[in-house]
Point group: C2
Amino acid sequence: MEERTTLKDVAREAGVHVSTASRALNPLTSSVVNPETVERVTAVARRLGYRPHPLARGLRTNQTMSVGVVIPDVENPLFGPIIAGAESVLVEDGYSVLIGNAERGGIDAEDVVNDLLEHRVDGLLLATAGRSDRWIADLGRQGVATVLVNREADDSSVPAILCDDHAGIGLAVQHLANLGHRRIGHVAGPATLSTGLFRRQAFMSWMRILELAPDENQIEEAEWFQVEPGYKAGLTLLTRCPDLTAVVAANDLLALGVYRAIRELGREVAVDISVTGYNDIPLLDMMQPPMTTVRVPYRQMGTQGAATLLDLMARRGDGSTASIKLTPTLVVRSSTAPPS
Amino acid sequence: MEERTTLKDVAREAGVHVSTASRALNPLTSSVVNPETVERVTAVARRLGYRPHPLARGLRTNQTMSVGVVIPDVENPLFGPIIAGAESVLVEDGYSVLIGNAERGGIDAEDVVNDLLEHRVDGLLLATAGRSDRWIADLGRQGVATVLVNREADDSSVPAILCDDHAGIGLAVQHLANLGHRRIGHVAGPATLSTGLFRRQAFMSWMRILELAPDENQIEEAEWFQVEPGYKAGLTLLTRCPDLTAVVAANDLLALGVYRAIRELGREVAVDISVTGYNDIPLLDMMQPPMTTVRVPYRQMGTQGAATLLDLMARRGDGSTASIKLTPTLVVRSSTAPPS
DNA sequence: GCGCCATTCGCAAACGATTGTATTCTCCCG
DNA sequence: CGGGAGAATACAATCGTTTGCGAATGGCGC
């Protein structure tokens, strides 16, 4: 069908050599060619609707103008905003987004990354969940521009964009404390995930700060960040410590599980036991009762991550690998109330 | 900084010319080279960890082994499963997924597609919402392998994977009719979207089939597939037709809006007015009351779409552009009950 | 008038694969 | 023993750019 117009066409039409045309069109090298010829070439290029062939260019310059975004689970609504945010800023700079789904467990996130690398992406945005993966540090050393989103590496040579979980959990605990709660429990996420571990530590820390008699006994760890595990953990927690008046969940879905556990025990959310979530996923305001939670700026994580990545790719090698901590906010709804 | 091993390296190491090495490694051309040499070359390739350079290959063969997936709104949880499903089957065939987000309105879905085409994707999976976009037909004629997902083109030259909305709405209406409802209303989606229009038509059709006195008056169109518009539409519908005992919403979010409208009017969901949703988005079972809805197999849409696309790309040009209709299922929860 | 520097541009070699064609070699048959 | 068929391989062009380098050109000072 339509014949692609190549640089050679433009050159011929403009009466110059292809190399001159190339230089003329490239803003970085156009200084070396007669301004008047630049003008002419650019005009011809526009008239012919010339677009450089990305593969040819990539082959020569060794970059594809595409970055890989690796997500542990595309179906998790959490990652939509991250992807969208990242995409929106990357597109501005002409990059496109290769998506890598590491859904099938955690081990082969590495495989997914390798696939992406196989496709010669220029950079990587990792939102995979696992803590401390050895290969991530290798990645950085290997010269692949990499940014972590919503997770941290044990090795801090790789910049990370994350949410200040300590502050976030603090918002929840303080809110409950202000309402008058003193016996507060925590349904934690799996300790194998950085988010699970950090929030748990933050919880203990704040209980100490607020002098609320922190007790590991008042913490129950869920097997996974989902409703069902939250329900199970909530149930064991509330039966083990029947005198709790509030529960801080490490995640909205866990909190929904706690809702169920509370009802199962014949109590009522907010009235008998207050509950807070974490993340502020969509539709939380439609729950019964609408859930008080900590909002994490996921979209901003995406944009910040992308921006940092662009930075990193621009000046290869050097670069202050500055990690960024975004600040969460408290969204008060109706799942929290003063203890009865 | 590891040096990439190129085909030349393999050839040298195996003591053959690079072209021979190329043919030996390619299953389609390996028949023309001595089986014994094939063996040797393959061995060397494996030992050296050779991977063909996708850009070099693409430049020559004119394909990138990547397909673009265009989504109207990445943040909509609906599209997670579609993407995940598509990705899972495309990865099997060595393709990777470029994601295009057409979030910013509807007009520039075309721009997004052009961006993707600029990146020389081999195929396109379109899940954008608009009806009848002229450029889609052009796309097909232009030789770009294209498959529509969850939407239809007015021009049917492009294969589409969609859900049988007529059957789906039928499930909802029949379910309500079986419960004894006779005065059933419909909160429709915007008629500018194919899903909005088709479900509305399906609703009328089934009301006729079941002889339930179909009346355009019992339909109110929401401005957008979201909770708030659903609330507004629900409110006007229920005040205009106060004797309705059930409402079929064109979408789960609209149905949630109707929940609110019903409460606003001092009535109770299920008890006074039954409500059905459409799509079965996550967490619907956590609502109060858990919502009866029609489940659409979105993940399967993704996989089917990808499969069809692979087909299309395999045999360029020919090809029965068979559209596929997937069948929805009814998920009965507690938002529907016999009329009081 | 000559040489030198700066500017502007063309030449050609990459990048790493695929693929049409030419070459070599072997073997067999007349 | 020569020639031709056929298999196996080598050669080289090509995809569309970028880019180091050398070659023109022109202006200027001595």
